[in-house]
């Protein structure tokens, strides 16, 4: 940095997108809060509509904001330093996502290592077991909760294993796409990225099948089936939402590539989407190990 010629840093003009985004977030938050409150009180209200309108407004905002950024980028306003800001920003965003998942993995480990055994009387909690729920047997997966709710567990073989293979493969194809982009081979780039997107979409399809299977009369594995169901659905659910977001990013990248965007030197957006995709993949591997296998 010290010895380099100074490049001017692009500070954008006023923009109306952030305030649009702020209003949209407010609509989402206020709408969702009203929606779940009404749901619980078994009332009907406007919350759901406000939530949907907020989501629509966020999408509108993101499209507008990003197209401004893309326009600026294509017109050559961004220096090398700007590119660095974007890269570092994206890395820290992914780190924050890691910490979000860490909260849920932490909860899973706490439940498995401490709270379920303690409820069964482990440690100095013999009285808890004997007085509160004498019939409770501590085990994981927790198929019978202390208050007697029963469920079944999701095995790792079958759909989860297929999904693991799909997602791992998609990380490799995403990497091939990136390599092709760096070598400026546009056709393999399109093909590899296309395959990545197809793998991602198939993953989501199988995930929906798995949920349908879980909610079937045969399995009776519900969101409220005790802490096993809680952790299963929240972890896989948040992961699924991130896969969806990652897929959308990749699809946008694919269309931008069709339009001839990105060069071997300058492709931050593609890089960011691909980082995000690898991150989603790593989370899945953790999920597969801690939620399904162990």
């Amino acid at each position: 940095m010290t010895n380099k010629e100074y490049e001017s840093y692009y500070v954008p003009d006023q923009s109306h997108w952030p305030i649009v985004g702020a209003v949209a977030l407010f609509m989402i938050a206020f709408g969702a809060a009203n929606y779940v409150t009404d749901l619980k009180n078994e009332q009907s209200g406007y919350g759901g509509y406000l939530l949907l309108a907020g989501i629509a407004l966020v999408v509108y905002m993101l499209v507008g904001w990003f197209s401004d950024v893309i326009k600026e980028s294509l017109s050559g306003k961004y220096s090398h330093q700007m590119d660095n800001s974007f890269r570092q920003g994206m890395s820290w965003f992914i780190f924050s996502e890691v910490m979000f998942f860490a909260a849920f993995f932490g909860a899973l480990l706490y439940l498995r290592v401490f709270s379920v055994p303690w409820l069964g009387g482990a440690g100095n909690n013999a009285a808890t077991g004997a007085v509160l729920w004498p019939d409770f047997v501590a085990q994981w997966p927790l198929l019978t909760t202390p208050d007697g709710t029963t469920t079944t567990s999701m095995g790792w073989f079958g759909l989860p294993l297929i999904n693991t293979v799909l997602l791992l493969t998609s990380s490799i194809t995403a990497h091939f796409a990136h390599t092709a982009l760096i070598k400026n081979e546009r056709k393999p780039l399109k093909i590899w990225l296309g395959i990545t997107i197809l793998l991602g979409v198939s993953f989501m399809g199988f995930q929906v099948l798995e949920y349908a299977h879980g909610y079937s009369e045969e399995m009776r594995l519900f969101l409220d089936s005790g802490v096993y169901g809680n952790t299963f659905y929240l972890l896989t659910g948040f992961h699924g939402m991130h896969v969806t977001l990652g897929c959308i990013m990749l699809i946008v990248m694919w269309f931008r590539i069709l339009k001839g965007h990105f060069t071997p030197e300058n492709h931050f957006a593609f890089q960011a989407a691909s980082w995000y995709w690898h991150f989603v993949d790593v989370v899945w591997v953790m999920l597969f190990v801690f939620v399904y296998i162990l």
Partner: protein, 542 residues
Amino acid sequence: MTTNVIEQDSHDEHHDEHSHKMTGVKRWLYTTNHKDIGTLYLWFAFIMFLTGGALAMVIRAELFQPGLQLVEPDFFNQLTTVHGLVMVFGAIMPAFTGFANWMLPMMLGAPDMALPRMNNWSFWILPFAFAILLGSFFMESGAPNFGWTFYAPLSTTYSNGSTAFFVFAVHIMGISSIMGAINIVVTIMNMRAPGMTYMKMPLFVWTFFITAYLLIAVMPVLAGVVTMLLTDTYFGTSFFDAAGGGDPVMFQHIFWFFGHPEVYIMILPAFGIVSTIIPAFSRKKLFGYSSMVYATSSIALLSFIVWAHHMFTTGMPLFGELFFMYCTMLIAVPTGVKVFNWVATMWRGSLSFETPMLFSIAFVILFTIGGFSGLMLAMTPVDFQYHDTYFVVAHFHYVLVTGSLFSIYAGAYFWLPKWTGHMYNDSLSKWHFWCSLISVNLLFFPMHFLGLAGMPRRIPDYALQFADFNKWVSIGGFAFGLSQLIFLAVVIKCIRGGEKAPAKPWDGAIGLEWTVASPAPYHTFSTPPPQEDIDNADQHEH
């Protein structure tokens, strides 16, 4: 303020393409300028401070004498809850983000924050979050009444129905903090002027750097725990319900994994501000710059392994209690390094006692008192007695009010000339200081005795033997509240006029921000500052 700054700008010499600026409300809504956004953060923080303060006034009025006078117990709980949330997330944190926005680019010799549009977004979502939180006072459910720590099952099974509004408001605050923190980290890593190495950065920058890391690491954990709270309350999960295999204590573990780094998020920037001001009015370089950097980093790292000292009475295994006790006490070492360094900086300096320095010295002494009571609370067996008493309330108000808030005042007086172009009214500012200093001690010091005598916190009524102390505490509270209006008057006067401030009003101050005019031009450092200025801004002793 608007007109003032615009007039000033027209005198400015530079006419690059971006100096064009909208006027009126659109300027503030659409702005990408770090100084505008810093101003917005600071005003928002002050408005929230007065709001949270108003809630505290009602609390102290109710506690003025024993018995229930003014408010229902449930409403009292809403007041304490929202007071805490507003002060933590609405006043202290945004105030520091405001400082970061105003000062970081100027101290680093950068043209602006690294991601200016996102900067705007992270500010403007905050007022909406607080609109939801404060709006819940006027809803059917009432405002959150489960304490700012929102322990399950108070916030789940026994919630008054405000949980969803609370959760989504906190989500927005978290998004705002994370975006703000990412912007700070990227600005510091990527926007330093050529020649400004990490160890040449002002300590102010270092503390915000480390704070921003803490924010990125723990705000998502807060998002995670409020999400579990939401599903427990509305979708039948049992994370915090033993009947389904969960554990209410797990809530406390996850919450305090966020919560303890959070308290350092609210004090590390204060260290940075004080480390800027004490050298300036001691006319010496900061004593032990490098050790300050390492001490700050150590405090940040330790903050991740001390969380369960908030939970000594929950019946943790003995090993846990010992581990968290010793780790907590370890924090006293780097904190002691800092206090020692501030005192050593003043040692044999040619001191003068301008208002920023008065607030800084008060900070050092009173924050240390808060640190000592923290050390007492860190001892597990002793904490069994202190837990959930007014001793805890006294402790964290000493670190948050006479710590964080006093540093904010110190910083505000220090940089007001740079922000507004005018000197503040000196005698009024001293009135503000002395009134605040006396009343704040009257307000919080007797709380130690109340706590040691066994008065529980978060209670609208109390036993008769606590009546005298509570009366004095309330009088101190009202006096402290009123004293803050003096600050408002000082700031408004300072914006509207006053003695013209030179580029560097404090003869002992160092830093790049003093190389630009007062008020700072709308755009500064479109080209990086010369190496000589960067060397002069170095805080190391030579």
